[in-house]
Symmetry: C2
Subunit: 100 residues, 2 copies
DNA sequence: TCGAAAAATCGACAAATTCCGATATCTTTG
DNA sequence: CAAAGATATCGGAATTTGTCGATTTTTCGA
């Protein structure tokens, strides 16, 4: 995954919005029966509802963000949870301030 | 200019390359008759030659980077010089580490 | 003031991205 | 194992981006 692909992943309002929501899941998503979102994140269905886009679109967006290493996916039974990769986001900020 | 437009401006290899070259102009560009590049930057023609793309493409890329506030343009007679906006780049890094 | 150099803008078209609906895969449960 | 729910993948229409060549605008110098 190259630098430019990380920026491409961030070049879309919905995807930026998803990253923002996942910063405070408890504020933006209903309680899940399927696991604490602080640990493994929020399931695709909840994120999809919030965006108003179709399931397929949101699924693709999430995997794009994951490929850019900005999100981490965890399969929890029939659900896939996504959460932010805070480490990678910090590294991106550092990279921009030093290398860009 | 919105957040997402900054990332769009960065979503292209050539534009990232231009930003990188402008970090150390004396290393990447020939001496100019038209001004010190540490002060006002490098003229469009030199940047264009280095990219190998056409003049129109590079001119558009530069103004896109300027619209995103990542570059500053200075008209010097018949030349336009572009240099990095280090301030804005630092702010972007901060924004990513705090707000993204 | 005219012509040439530098840069910006315009019009076009191919390639990439956005987003959808349909279908396939995986997982749980009866 | 079959059905149902959650997610992933596929194929495509519409929009945006990448990039070009041609033209226009700006500025300098003869």
């Amino acid at each position: 995954m190259e630098q430019v692909d990380i920026f491409k992943a961030l070049s879309n309002k919905t995807r930026l919005q998803i990253l923002a929501w996942l910063k405070e899941p408890e504020k933006h998503f209903p309680v899940q029966e399927c696991g604490e979102f602080n640990k493994t994140g929020v399931c695709v269905g909840h994120i999809q509802q919030k965006t108003g886009l179709t399931q397929s679109t949101v699924s693709e967006y999430l995997s794009m963000l994951q490929r850019a290493n900005l999100l981490v996916a965890t399969r929890m039974g029939q659900w896939t949870h996504y959460k932010r990769n805070e480490e990678a986001i910090k590294e991106l900020a550092q990279h921009i301030s030093k290398e860009l």
